[in-house]
């Protein structure tokens, strides 16, 4: 692995601060040259701004019903049309950003915490700690795709918070594996051996010498993971196992809209488009990050 060796060489000279900074700046410059990543980043920024400024952008309340205006096609007063309760779909998609983006990010944060703790422990301590954690990973991976998330939701009960927990835990095995693999190779580096031989405490070795080696693949994995988590969380809501109506969430909007596909296709079009745009932006950014930080990574 050529990339990990260059990183390994760059790490121990943390005394030479400027060199470290310039590497960061170098990565950033390379990222800015990646057209996909820039486009993805800009779209993501727009979405975040839209989420924050939602009340300023839309004059409508996302949950207020207005029966006389039900199922209106997109027009001047309702750019995305209205749904079966006469609610403005633009407002609901806009406010949905406030639910769906954080859901994806929090779910990934849960995976990250489990992945970092589990992966570091398994990779660094090895032996029975490793065996135990990897057995748990095997068991979790035995549930295909969405099934683990479904099992967790079935156990905890359907709700917004439980959907995030379910998506986060269900994705965690991949994080544990990636962290562990990188810790395993980092553990063998000479400077780790050197640190150990001069009596540096284990906690310091893990946090200062091992963890930085894990950061590049984990940043890439987590970024791409947010896109997947948004889609999975929306899927749970679509199945009726996540966010409950009338909360404006993209997946649950699509669930409600599925009965009006013939009558009012716009109720389906826009929430779905919002999911695709958000996921695409994050995937583009994640792909760019991978090309910049860890080109050999296969994700």
């Amino acid at each position: 692995m050529t990339t990990s060796t260059t990183r390994a060489v760059a790490q121990p000279v943390s005394a030479l601060k400027p060199r470290h900074d310039s590497m960061l700046r170098m990565s950033l410059r390379r990222l800015l040259r990646n057209r996909g990543a820039v486009i993805g980043g800009i779209i993501l920024l727009v979405l975040i701004v839209a989420a924050v400024a939602a009340p300023l952008i839309s004059p409508y309340d996302p949950v207020e019903m207005n029966p006389p205006a039900r199922l209106q096609s997109p027009g001047l007063s309702h750019p995305f049309g209205t749904d079966n309760f006469g609610r403005d779909i633009f407002a609901r998609v806009l406010y949905g950003t406030r639910i769906s983006l954080p859901m994806g990010i929090i779910a990934v944060a849960i995976s990250l915490i489990i992945g970092l703790v589990g992966g570091l422990l398994a990779g660094y301590y090895g032996r029975w700690v490793d065996a135990g954690i990897m057995r748990a990973v095997d068991v979790m991976l035995a549930f295909p795709g969405l099934l683990l998330a479904l099992a967790i939701v079935a156990t905890l009960g359907p709700s917004l918070v439980n959907a995030m927990i379910a998506v986060g835990i269900a994705a965690a095995p991949t994080y544990i594996r990636v962290v562990r693999a990188n810790v395993l190779s980092a553990r063998e580096y000479d400077y780790v051996e050197a640190a150990r031989s001069v009596g540096v405490p284990e906690r310091t070795i893990i946090l200062r010498h091992i963890l930085p080696n894990v950061s590049a693949p984990v940043i890439v994995l987590a970024t791409l993971g947010v896109a997947g988590a948004i889609i999975t969380a929306a899927a749970l809501s679509y199945l009726g196992l996540g966010v409950k109506p009338p909360t404006p969430e993209w997946g649950s909007m699509l669930r409600e809209a599925s009965n009006y596909l013939r009558l009012a296709p716009w109720t389906t079009t826009f929430p779905g488009l919002a999911i695709v745009v958000a996921a695409l932006a994050i995937n583009l950014l994640g792909d760019g990050l991978r090309d910049t930080l860890d080109p050999r990574m296969k994700l």
């Binding site: 795709g145 969405l146 009726g240 997946g251 699509l254 596909l261 999911i275 995937n283």
Partner: protein
Amino acid sequence: MFRYILLRIALALPTIVLVSILVFLMLYLTPGDPASIYVGDRQATPERLAQVRHEMGLDRPILVQYADFATGMLRGGASRSLQTNRAVSDEIMERLPSTLELTIAAFLISVFIGGGLGILSALRPNSWFDTATRAVAMAGVSMPVFWLGALVIFIFSVQLRWFPVTGEGGWERLVMPAAVLGLVTAAPLMRLVRGSMLEVMGMDYITTARAKGQRESAVVLGHGLRNALIPIVTVMGLQLGALLGGAVITEAVFARPGIGRLIVDSILSKDFPVVQATILYVAVIYIVINLVVDISYGFLDPRIRLGAGQR
């Protein structure tokens, strides 16, 4: 080879046992009293709850309960659905063919399109074909199955009236769901196949094969694909998992009465015996699929087989 297969099977068995323990514990990890979950939304007197607890064996030691659960599952699901009062195994067997039909059709579409485009794209990196394929794959990995399904229904059923909207039976009801599920899962496969092929095609032995004057098709298929197969087969195994999971959503979109629908409906109606049995059986099916994938490595790459034999 025989030893390698035995070793793989021996490694899969504890996983199945652990999975069954986890699924068994689901009922206990659920907030609330298991007996009142079984009674459901109906009001129950303490006496009725005690009776249910006794009928379910909840008053016995937990190990005995697990043993009952496990033997019940081994015998094919002895428990009954709380909703329909039918044997869980009947419910599952009735719906399994529909899910298998969908998964297999989608798998073939996924492998054909994802694998084919991945190889072609890797042979001409950065050509217009490669760029276009990668863009489509990028859109594919960002596409939720349930939305693509809705779009396809709107275009091909509502507007063009080519296919019936929902249900199952007959190929015309299978085309849309299988295509949607297959296309969405083809995207990540295409990206991986392209990556592995690119890596392999840059190896020295490919240059050597070309220098020997071998036909390009022999170089690509005999030397390139053969060596890129291991990661591809791994992903195809995982792919089946994604398909089984994706089938849950696809069945909801197209109102197909399959296993996925059964899981979702039983979670929504808190029909715990059905939830547990269905999840456990699907997990075991998936473990067996991965076992087959693992064993096939041994055939594809002798190094793996020999490595395991020496241990």
